[in-house]
């Protein structure tokens, strides 16, 4: 835990343009020492550090990598720096755009270095503090490790970790910025990954109209059609898209294909036949803004997604039991009215505070 003494020391290390933020943090620290709790201090300095009352407990808690303004700023700089790709053309932010909930709208697959296409659709990055595993196949075990996958993938940033560290260490400005936080010495793997994790951990989306509705806050009014959609959603979609994170954090085969020769999903990691075609259930927050859909981006619209569940589900040995209808037909029966209502409901998950938060956009 960062005390106010350390906060004073940190103040001296900050650049001029961070001073207003630091002063806010200081004000927060004073409040905290007056008994208001340390979350006040952190919340003023770094976005996305509060526990929304309608969310489950954090997995990557604040104590894992205590948020502070300087580290957040460094993580943000790293996230948007194309120098972390082999040819200097692709940053994390190239395929994860703030205004699109850090997905890549309009791209079935995103181009990495030299125009190569990543093997899967770029997922939205939001509420990562509440995630247990990462990637559609769950291959990555923790938030701090996650960045290694796109960084080193030949089709994405194609940057071996040692080369990324060498490039950072060759940059006097980065060396100063890291040293101000982690002390003198070369920039190393944990420093790099933890700084980046501070930024992606801050991407909390919890202020949609739906959130305000369930928290009984002002601005949480839903239309009768949206309420009908919510009821249909709870009854027919909520077993997988569970909790207010809209995912059960598990792997399911949702019947996209009869066989999975190109991408076996979870089985790519476990090699278990029972895991063939299973993919992590994605959150539906800001889903209106993150088209196209599915791990391979095959559906361009949400209407297509609903049509898939109604009459497009393909049978296979690992198809999820929730998608086996009585009588043998796979899928989830959704009437035209139900589909219209669901589409109306899904718009209530758009969180404009998150999508337009300038602290999360590219620096400058």
């Amino acid at each position: 835990m960062r005390g106010s003494t350390q906060l004073w020391q940190r103040l001296h290390q900050l650049r001029a343009h961070w001073r207003p933020v630091a002063l806010l943090a200081l004000a927060g620290a004073v409040l905290a020492s007056a008994g208001c709790g340390r979350n006040v201090e952190v919340a003023l300095a770094v976005p996305g550090t509060m526990q929304p009352s309608n969310f489950p407990a954090m997995v990557y808690g604040l104590d894992k990598n205590p948020p502070d303004a300087a580290t957040f700023a460094l993580g943000r700089r790293l996230f948007y720096d194309p120098q972390l790709s082999a040819d200097g053309t692709v940053s994390c932010g190239s395929c994860h755009r703030a205004t699109e909930a850090f997905a890549h709208a309009g791209h079935r697959l995103s181009p990495g270095v030299a125009g190569r296409l990543a093997p899967r659709n770029a997922p939205a990055l939001q509420n990562l503090r509440w995630r247990r595993g990462f990637m559609a196949d769950g291959g990555v075990l923790g938030l701090e490790l996650q960045a290694l996958a796109p960084l080193t993938s030949p089709a994405e940033m194609n940057m071996p970790l040692a080369d990324a560290l060498a490039r950072l260490n060759a940059d006097a400005d980065y060396r100063r910025q890291f040293a101000a936080i982690y002390g003198p010495g070369p920039i190393d793997t944990p420093q790099f990954l933890r700084a980046l994790a501070q930024f992606v951990a801050s991407l909390t989306s919890a202020n949609s109209r739906y959130d305000k509705h369930v928290r009984h806050e002002a601005g949480g009014e839903l239309s009768p059609q949206e309420v009908s959609g919510l009821l249909t959603f709870k009854a027919k979609c909520g077993s997988c898209h569970a909790t207010d994170l809209f995912t059960d954090e598990r792997f399911h085969n949702n019947g996209l294909d009869r066989a999975f020769p190109v991408d076996s999903g979870r089985a790519h990691i476990t090699s278990r036949p029972a895991d063939r075609g299973l993919f992590k259930v994605p959150s539906l927050r800001n889903v209106v803004r993150t088209a196209p859909y599915m791990h391979d981006g095959r559906f361009a619209t949400l209407a297509q997604v609903l049509a898939h569940y109604d009459h497009g589900v393909q049978p296979s040995p690992t198809l999820d039991p929730a998608l086996r209808l009585p009588g043998g037909r796979p899928g989830i029966a959704l009437s035209a009215t139900e589909q219209t209502n669901l589409l109306a409901f899904l718009t209530t998950l758009t969180d404009n505070d998150f999508l337009t938060d300038s602290r999360l956009a590219a620096p400058r």
Partner: protein
């Protein structure tokens, strides 16, 4: 590499203070009642020393190949006494890289004095360590050593890269063995015969010279263990063939060339 950063300095300070107080002349490098054991590994292809310069080698079944990279982890060293009891050396993780001479030898300190009739070690990294927080992954375990799968968090236990030239045209050999999940765990233990008794004594450092034979990756102890070089470009993820290769190298890759007590 020894992951006992705090312990050693604290111990040295205490030991120095103690020897000053009691006027002891003995070196303070190790705990009383312990000695060190050094290991040196010669990477081989059959009877020839492994060279990474394009030298062509042949397998017993007549396939020809060259090697550009050969790297693997040795960890979890155990020293076995005649009565079957063992000493497990903590914090030992060594990345042996055929391209780096200094990586092919290391010393294990603080081994209890005594007579040992066997040694064993994991070729790879235990699952607890490979799943550890990245902050714990320092030194040889650092993901920056390119022995780490970013897409399936965990270490690559052994990496062989080169070309196979069987049948004329050269094609790449890419063999990355890893995986710690059942049923395809590739974490294996090698226990090459010592052919003698290792005498660990205070103030002494016996030497164990090991040989690591690349050819033994392709053939193990059992019928059906043969892996053709033509299969190798595809071995880059956990699965049955990675497990077979791991079993092969656990069974026969390592042998003790000499044991020198002094």
């Amino acid at each position: 590499m020894k992951n006992r950063r705090l312990f050693l300095p604290v111990f040295l300070v205490l030991a120095t203070a103690a020897s000053w107080l009691i006027g002891c002349k003995k070196e303070a490098a190790s705990e009383p009642g312990t000695g060190s054991v050094s290991f040196a590994i010669a990477n081989m292809v059959g009877t020839k020393a492994l060279a990474l310069d394009g030298t062509a080698y042949a397998t017993p079944s007549g396939e020809t190949f060259t090697v550009q990279k050969f790297k693997y982890y040795l960890s979890n060293l155990r020293f076995i006494r005649a009565d079957g009891s063992t000493y497990a050396a903590p914090g030992e993780y060594h990345l042996v890289d055929a391209a780096t001479a200094s990586s092919t030898s290391f010393t294990v300190s603080d081994v209890p004095t005594g007579n040992y009739t066997g040694v064993s070690f994991v070729v790879g990294v235990d699952s607890t360590t490979t799943k550890a927080d990245p902050l714990a992954l320092t030194g040889d375990l650092n993901p920056a050593n390119a022995m780490y799968w970013a897409w399936a968090s965990g270490h690559i236990f052994l990496k062989l890269e080169g070309t196979t030239t069987t049948g004329g045209a050269a094609s790449p050999i890419v063999c990355h063995v890893g995986g710690y999940r059942a049923p395809y765990s590739a974490i294996v233990t090698a226990s090459p015969a010592l052919n003698g008794t290792l005498l660990v004594r205070a103030g002494q450092e016996p030497k164990i010279q090991l040989s690591a034979d690349v050819l033994k990756m392709f053939d193990g102890a059992t019928p059906g263990s043969h892996i053709a070089l033509s299969a190798f470009p595809e071995i880059m993820m956990p699965g049955p063939r990675a497990v077979q290769i791991a079993q092969n190298y656990a069974a026969g890759m390592f042998s003790v060339k000499s044991l020198q007590n002094n």
